[in-house]
């Protein structure tokens, strides 16, 4: 029994870290511009397919394909921002529908280019076994993905809090006036955060390709997972994204181990709703909306209005 739980928690933590990697880009963009990019999952998938193409055509290992994927996905991410920046009114909702449309386009584009077949890396190392004290098991790729995720979370956190650009981005997220005072052009910063989101998506995509199998319709699930975790973390708070991801991962693994594998998704959604309703500002809310956690958490109760007026929304 104990061994069972131990392994469940272990693989839960691993997939959780990977979930965090999936969510990171979405969280960043939301923190900066209050825009939820519903095409985020599709960008991740795109990176995965780039890796697949390079492997099947040129025989490159997934890691080697990173630079190419970075360029492709980076450009796409910039494109997404370009379109969003063209929205005339009510950006918060219209961007939702816009990126929704983009998601449909990318999914079907992938379907047309790469067909519906299931793809996966042929690299032996990726699926090799990593055994810890002959009681904990994992795929090398899983470990690598988790490691990369943690590193990227830390880097992003440091960047947001200690680099000039990072602080500028946080300024934009609180108010674009503040940014203007800092003498930075908010549009530039929004573009920057979108490109960084693209970079994060690329890492997630390559990790996905080397650890699991990919198929065109996968993007939707990725986006949902990313959004769930972003909400769990408390919109826009970076360090909590990791915590949120791990939480989901472990809960899912335990659900599979002690209840049924087909209730795995359910546990995620229920947790998601519970947090939205009970803890509107996510995990960061537990720490009284601490501001040092990257861009200020925007609570779902009210998107524009200051926290104080939030109570007005429910009567």
């Amino acid at each position: 029994m104990f061994e069972l739980t131990l392994q469940a928690v272990f693989s839960g933590l691993l997939s959780g870290a990977f979930y965090a990697l999936i969510a990171l880009g979405l969280a960043l963009v939301f923190g900066t511009m209050k825009v939820i990019n519903l095409a985020h999952g599709e960008l991740i998938l795109l990176a995965a397919y780039v890796a697949y193409t390079l492997e099947s055509v040129a025989g490159w290992s997934p890691l080697a394909s990173l630079p190419v994927a970075l360029v492709v996905v980076g450009i796409c991410a910039a494109g997404v921002y370009f379109l969003i920046s063209r929205i005339k009114r009510d950006r918060e909702l219209n961007s939702l529908i816009l990126t929704f449309g983009l998601a449909i386009i990318i999914t079907n584009g992938i379907l047309m280019i790469w067909s519906a077949d299931v793809r996966s890396t042929g690299g032996d190392w990726a699926h090799g076994a990593f055994v810890l004290g002959d009681s904990l098991f994992a795929m090398n790729a899983e470990l690598l993905a988790a490691g990369v995720s943690v590193v990227l979370v830390v880097l992003l956190y440091l960047w947001l809090n200690h680099s000039w650009y990072g602080r500028a981005i946080r300024a934009v997220s609180s108010s674009s006036e503040a940014a203007k005072l800092m003498g930075v052009n908010p549009r530039q910063l929004e573009l920057l955060s979108f490109i960084i989101a693209g970079v994060l998506a690329t890492f997630a995509g390559v990790a996905l390709y080397s650890a699991q199998t990919i198929a065109p319709e996968l993007g939707h699930n990725l986006t949902i997972t990313a959004f769930i975790i972003t909400v769990l973390a408390g919109m826009g708070s970076i360090s909590e994204v990791l915590v949120g991801g791990l939480l989901i991962g472990v809960i899912e693994a335990l659900t599979v181990t002690y209840f049924s594998s087909s209730l795995r998704e359910l546990s995620g959604f229920v947790l998601f709703l519970a947090v939205l309703l009970v803890l509107p500002s996510g995990l960061s809310g537990l720490k009284m909306k601490t501001r040092k956690a990257g861009p200020t958490g925007v609570s779902p109760g009210s998107s524009e209005k200051p926290a104080r007026q939030k109570q007005l929304q429910h009567d």
């Binding site: 379109l83 983009l102 949902i224 309703l277």
Partner: protein, 324 residues
């Protein structure tokens, strides 16, 4: 003013005659084409419900599949287990969806994207439950040979043509309800709430209660449409009943037609679905939804008011959402 009212009357009459007389006369014989038209109107029904919630309630939903599926299952199970007449089942299906929407009331206080995706979560949860609660729903196996619509006054509704008249009527009534709500004082208050929610509250408008009302109405319409579809296709299965298509297509349709207008969603649904089935499908056999995505993006960027919105502004400078 009265003149334009007159014109509107003529327009409405023309539309009704076309749908109830011309279309059946022209395509009545071609059960394939009629089938496609029925599917188009099914989407139109959901699109109207979705737009009602979006326009009056100011809430974008990504989970109308939930109401569609619940409506479908409620009516089908009542018909198969307890022999309830499918015609009555349509309304009960609507009620089922309303009950489901009551479970969603807590998320009403969420705004914008949060609400949209919270509703999506509900849809997913209902889907999973439909799979897991085997004893009630028949599980993943779904329900085969669901009874069709009955014969009313000597006219057999359990035919392509009967189905056509049923769904057209459902859609027409839904649009009427939408129209009546919008021109009532409730409609005024709801429209005002978009940009000045606080100001309306101070004037005594129970904002959240009105939103809840809109959610319930929207759920009811969608549930009825779902129930109709189940009795029309005579088949149900969780992944079909709660499929994302029941959310995606109506959104595309409503946005394309103009979700702030009354007739936009219906027009959008007909144009989009018929084009998709009769044109795009032959152009791109695999992945023709790509064009739909493209249309959605283009509309948001270049014509947020949608097709009807644009036409309106062409007709009478300054598209006011109040009429048509």
């Amino acid at each position: 003013m009265t003149n334009s009212k007159m014109n509107n009357r003529i327009l409405v009459a023309a539309v009704l005659i076309t749908t109830y007389v011309l279309v059946p006369l022209l395509f009545g014989g071609n059960s394939y084409l009629l089938g496609v038209v029925v599917s188009a109107f099914t989407i139109a029904g959901i699109a109207v419900a979705w737009a009602l919630l979006g326009n009056l309630g100011g809430m974008i939903s990504f989970g109308h599949a939930a109401f569609f599926g619940i409506g479908a299952y409620t009516s089908s199970l009542l018909a198969m287990r307890f022999g309830v007449s499918p015609l009555l089942g349509l309304l009960l299906g609507g009620l089922g969806a309303v009950v489901a929407s009551l479970a969603m009331l807590p998320v009403l206080r969420l705004r914008g994207p949060y609400f949209a995706l919270a509703i999506l979560a509900y849809a997913e949860i209902f889907r999973i439950l439909a799979v897991e609660l085997k004893s009630i729903t028949g599980g993943a196996g779904g329900l085969l040979s669901i009874p069709g619509l009955p014969t009313v006054a000597g006219f057999d509704l359990n035919t392509k043509l009967g189905g056509y008249f049923t769904i057209v009527t459902i859609v027409a009534v839904s649009v009427l309800v939408y129209y009546l709500i919008r021109r009532s004082t409730y409609g005024l208050a709801l429209r005002a709430m978009h940009d000045s929610e606080n100001a309306t509250r101070v004037l005594g408008v129970p904002a959240t209660r009105l939103k809840a009302l809109m959610l319930i109405v929207s759920a009811f319409i969608t549930g009825v449409v779902g129930a109709f579809n189940a009795h029309f296709i005579n088949f149900l299965e969780p992944n079909y009943a709660f499929a994302g298509t029941w959310t995606i297509l109506p959104i595309v349709a409503a946005i394309f037609g103009g979700y702030r207008t009354l007739t936009g969603p219906v027009a959008g649904a007909l144009v989009i679905y018929l084009m998709d089935q009769l044109l795009f499908k032959s152009l791109i056999p695999q992945g023709h939804q790509l064009i739909l995505g493209g249309l959605l993006v283009a509309m948001i960027l270049f014509a947020p008011d949608g097709l009807v919105g644009v036409l309106l502004r062409k007709v009478k400078g300054g598209g006011d959402h109040a009429t048509t």
